[in-house]
C-alpha cells in the first residue's frame, strides 16, 4: 500500500450498499416494471436467493486471499499471470465505462426531475470534480464517508417510504398469479445482474484485513439492499400503478413528488434527488478508485492517485460520447450494460476462480 490506508469490511459493505442503491432505482423502472407490471414488486424478492448465493460464493473465494491481496491478485493467482491481468484489465475498463455512464445518467436525472431548463454538462463537471477529489484521497476516507452516509440515506428512505406506503393502492399491486412467474423471474434478472457489481468492490479487498464473519456481513447487506429495492418498487408501483410507472424514466422520483407528510410537508423531491446524487458521487468515486487500483496493479505499483486521472479521463470520454441523447443512454442501460456485466461477473470471473480451484491455487 502506498500509505497506511485501510478499509474495514463494514465500510466496504456500506460503500457497496450506497453505490448499488442508485442504479437499483433505475433498473427497477426498466425491465422489471415492463415485464412483470403489477407483479414487479416481487422481482427483488425473486432476486434474493441468487444474489445471496453469489455473495456467498464471492465471499468464499475472497477468503482465500492473502494479506494485502485483492481480487486482482487472487485472479492472477487463480488463472495465471496473463489471463488474470487480462480479466482485471477488462474489469478496469468496465469500471471506467460504467463511471462515464453514471456521470451521464446522474446528470440526466437532475435535468429530467428538477432542472427542466438545464443542460447536463454542468452537472457532469460538478459530479466529476467532487468524485475526483474523493478518489484522489485515501480509500479509508471514502469508506468512512460511506459509513456516515448510510444512516442519512436510510433516514431519507424511511422519510419517503413511510408516507408513500400509506398511499399504496392494493389494486395497483394486483393481480398476481402463477401466470406472472416467468415475468417476475425475467424482471429479477437485471436486479441480480446489478447485485453482481459488488464483485468490482472486491478489487479493494487488499485494503481490508480479513475478518471472521466477513461473508455473513456481506449477506446481511445484500439482503438489506434487496429489502430496500422491494420497498422502493412496492411504493412506486403501488402509488403510481405499473401502467404509468413503465412510461416514466424515473418513476420513483415522480412518486416522491406526490408524497406529502401529514398533508403538510411536501415538495421535498429536489432534496431526495440531491441526496441520490450523493450516492452517484460515491459510486463514481468508488469506480474511479477501483479502476485506479486495477491500473496500479497492472503497471506494477506506484501511487494509486496517479492512475485516477486516466480513469477519470476515460469516464469523461464515455460521458461525452453518450451526451446528447437520453434514449441512447436508456437503450445502453437496458441492453449492452447488463449483458457485458453478466458476461464479466457471471461467466469470466467465476470461470477464472474455478480454474484457480482446479489448479489448487485457491
Amino acid at each position: 500500500m502506498e500509505k497506511i490506508d485501510s478499509l474495514s469490511a463494514r465500510q466496504k459493505r456500506a460503500l457497496t450498499f450506497l453505490c448499488l442503491l442508485s442504479p437499483a432505482v433505475r433498473q427497477l423502472s426498466e425491465l422489471p416494471t415492463r415485464a412483470a407490471g403489477a407483479a414487479s414488486w416481487l422481482c427483488p424478492a425473486a432476486a434474493l436467493l441468487p444474489a445471496l448465493l453469489y455473495a456467498a460464493l464471492l465471499g468464499a473465494a475472497m477468503r482465500k486471499r492473502g494479506p494485502g491481496e485483492g481480487l486482482q491478485e487472487l485472479l492472477v493467482r487463480a488463472a495465471g499471470r496473463v489471463p488474470g491481468r487480462a480479466i482485471a484489465a477488462l474489469s478496469g475498463i468496465w469500471c471506467v465505462f460504467y463511471g462515464g455512464f453514471l456521470l451521464r445518467t446522474a446528470a440526466d436525472r437532475l435535468v429530467s426531475t428538477v432542472y427542466e431548463y438545464g443542460g447536463d454538462t454542468f452537472f457532469i463537471i460538478i459530479l466529476l470534480a467532487v468524485a475526483l477529489l474523493a478518489a484522489l484521497g485515501r480509500v479509508c476516507a471514502l469508506g468512512r464517508l460511506a459509513e456516515a452516509v448510510v444512516p442519512v440515506m436510510l433516514l431519507v428512505l424511511a422519510f419517503v417510504l413511510l408516507p408513500a406506503m400509506t398511499d399504496v393502492s392494493f389494486e395497483y399491486l394486483t393481480p398476481v398469479s402463477t401466470l406472472d412467474t416467468g415475468a417476475v423471474a425475467l424482471g429479477a434478472l437485471p436486479l441480480f445482474d446489478l447485485l453482481t457489481i459488488q464483485a468490482d468492490f472486491a478489487f479493494l479487498d487488499g485494503y481490508i484485513a480479513p475478518e471472521e464473519r466477513e461473508t455473513a456481513g456481506s449477506l446481511r447487506w445484500t439482503a438489506l439492499l434487496i429489502l430496500c429495492m422491494l420497498l422502493l418498487q412496492t411504493a412506486t408501483i403501488g402509488g403510481l400503478s405499473a401502467d404509468i410507472a413503465r412510461a416514466l424514466p424515473e418513476p420513483f422520483f415522480v412518486m416522491v413528488r406526490s408524497v406529502s407528510v401529514f398533508s403538510g410537508v411536501d415538495g421535498f423531491e429536489s432534496l431526495v434527488v440531491a441526496v441520490w446524487v450523493v450516492t452517484d458521487f460515491l459510486f463514481l468515486a468508488a469506480l474511479l478508485t477501483i479502476a485506479s487500483e486495477i491500473l496500479r496493479g497492472l503497471f506494477g505499483g506506484g501511487r494509486r492517485s496517479v492512475f485516477v486521472w486516466p480513469a477519470a479521463a476515460g469516464a469523461v470520454a464515455v460521458a461525452a460520447a453518450l451526451s446528447g441523447d437520453a434514449f441512447a443512454v436508456r437503450r445502453l442501460s437496458e441492453t449492452v450494460l447488463p449483458v457485458v456485466n453478466a458476461g464479466l461477473k457471471l461467466v469470466v470471473l467465476p470461470l477464472a476462480l474455478a480454474v484457480g480451484k482446479l489448479r489448487r491455487k485457491l
Partner: protein
C-alpha cells in the same frame, strides 16, 4: 473524511438550490403561488389556461391570470410571460379544472403534460366543468367572497359525503384509463343560490364524468353517480333518508360500502357476474317512536336503505352496459379475483361486457345509533 463530507454537503446545497445560487431570494408577497389551473378551448386550436392563486392567508381576494396557446404546455409558458404572472410557481397547484370542450378534445394531452412536468404533480385533483367554462367559473367565483381554488379544496374534503362523487387525482385518472380503459372523475358546475349575491357564484359537485381513450365520454346523472360511488367503495358518509314501518323518516349516514365481485363460469367461459354490495350505516335521526335498538326495526330500515341504494347501483350498471364502457372497473375486479381465468378473455372484455348478465345484491347493516339509543317520547300535556 471531513473534506468528502463537506463536498457532499456542498453538492446537496448546490443542487437543491438551498445555496441561493440558483435564484435570487424573493419576498413571499411577490410570489404568485398558483393553486388551481383552469383549461378551456380545444387543443390544437386555441387552449386557454387560467391560473388561480386562491384566497390569501389574510383573506386577500384571489388573483386570476389567463393566457392562450395551441397546447396546454405552451399556454402555461405564455402565462408565465405575462407581466403580472412572471415567476409564477405551479408546484403548489392542487386542482386542475378542465372545461367540457377541452376535456372532449384532448384530456390525454393535459394529463401527459402534468405527468411529464417536473413542476406539476400527479396528485393534482382533476375536475371536469359541466355546462360552463373553467376560466369563466374561476373568475366568477373569484369575484365573490371565495375562490375557485378554495371551493375545489372544500369539495375535495367533502365530495364523498355528498354521495354524488369523490375526488380523483390526475395520476389515478390516467392509471384507470390505462388499466380499466375508462376512468371516473368528478364533474362540477356553477351554483348560484339564494344565499349568494348576484355577482357571486360557487362551485358545486355535479356527479361524475366518464373518461375514455383520453377524452370525456359523458356525464353520469346524480343517481348513476351515487351508484358508481357505492360500487367503487368510495362512499364515506353520504346521507340517506328512508321511512320506518310507521312511515316516519329515518336518516342514515352510509359509513362504508364494500363491493365484492363473484363471477360465474361454465366450462371456463364467463357466464355472469354477481356483485355483493354491503353497506354499513349509522342512524343520524329518527322522527318516530320506533327504536333502532330493536333488531326488527333496524332490519326494516336497513332493507329500505338497501332497496333505495340498489336502484342507484342498477342505474349505474345499466349505463355502463348500455354504453359498453366499463367505467366501474368490473373487468379489473374479475381479473384481480381470477387472474388466470380472466387472462383468456381480457382482450375480448369490451365485447363481452355489454351483454354479460350482471346482478347486484345489496345488503345494509345499521351499525350504530350514536348517542341516542331509543327515541325520546315526550308526554302529552
Amino acid at each position: 473524511m471531513r473534506r468528502a463530507a463537506a463536498f457532499s454537503l456542498a453538492l446537496v446545497m448546490l443542487l437543491t438550490g438551498c445555496s441561493g445560487l440558483r435564484q435570487k431570494m424573493r419576498d413571499e408577497a411577490d410570489l404568485v403561488l398558483v393553486r388551481a389551473v383552469g383549461v378551456d378551448g380545444e387543443a390544437g386550436e386555441s387552449l386557454t389556461v387560467t391560473a388561480d392563486t386562491g384566497l390569501g392567508e389574510k383573506g386577500e381576494p384571489p388573483r386570476t391570470f389567463t393566457a392562450s396557446a395551441a397546447t396546454f404546455g405552451e399556454a402555461v409558458e405564455a402565462l408565465r410571460m405575462t407581466p403580472e404572472c412572471r415567476d409564477a410557481f405551479f408546484t403548489h397547484t392542487e386542482h386542475l379544472l378542465v372545461g367540457e370542450a377541452a376535456a372532449e378534445t384532448d384530456l390525454q394531452g393535459l394529463l401527459d403534460f402534468v405527468i411529464r412536468s417536473p413542476e406539476l404533480r400527479l396528485d393534482t385533483d382533476l375536475f371536469i366543468m359541466k355546462d360552463a367554462g373553467a376560466g369563466e367559473t374561476m373568475r366568477a367565483v373569484g369575484a365573490g367572497r371565495s375562490s375557485a381554488a378554495d371551493e375545489l379544496s372544500f369539495l375535495k374534503r367533502y365530495a364523498a359525503r355528498t354521495g354524488r362523487g369523490y375526488t380523483v387525482e390526475c395520476g389515478e385518472a390516467a392509471a384507470d384509463m390505462l388499466r380499466e380503459s375508462a376512468a371516473l372523475v368528478p364533474a362540477v358546475t356553477v351554483r348560484r343560490s339564494d344565499d349568494l349575491t348576484e355577482e357571486e357564484s360557487a362551485v358545486d359537485l355535479a356527479g361524475m364524468a366518464v373518461l375514455r381513450e383520453g377524452k370525456l365520454a359523458f356525464f353520469l346523472t346524480e343517481e348513476e353517480s351515487r351508484g358508481a360511488v357505492l360500487l367503487k367503495n368510495r362512499c364515506e358518509g353520504a346521507m340517506l333518508t328512508v321511512p320506518d314501518e310507521r312511515g316516519c323518516a329515518v336518516t342514515l349516514r352510509l359509513l362504508k360500502a364494500k363491493t365484492t365481485t363473484e363471477p360465474s363460469y361454465e366450462n371456463g367461459t364467463l357466464t355472469g357476474l354477481r356483485l355483493r354490495v354491503r353497506l354499513t350505516a349509522g342512524v343520524v335521526q329518527t322522527g318516530g317512536y320506533l327504536s333502532p335498538e330493536e333488531r326488527e326495526v333496524r332490519a326494516y330500515i336497513a332493507e329500505k336503505a338497501a332497496a333505495a341504494e340498489k336502484e342507484k347501483i342498477d342505474a349505474a350498471l345499466r349505463r355502463a352496459q348500455e354504453t359498453g364502457i366499463d367505467f366501474l372497473g368490473l373487468g379489473a375486479a374479475i381479473e384481480r379475483r381470477d387472474p388466470v381465468k380472466f387472462a383468456g378473455m381480457k382482450e375480448r372484455w369490451d365485447e363481452l361486457f355489454p351483454t354479460l348478465p350482471v346482478a347486484a345484491e345489496v345488503t345494509c347493516t345499521v351499525e350504530r345509533t350514536y348517542e341516542l339509543n331509543t327515541p325520546l317520547i315526550y308526554p302529552s300535556p
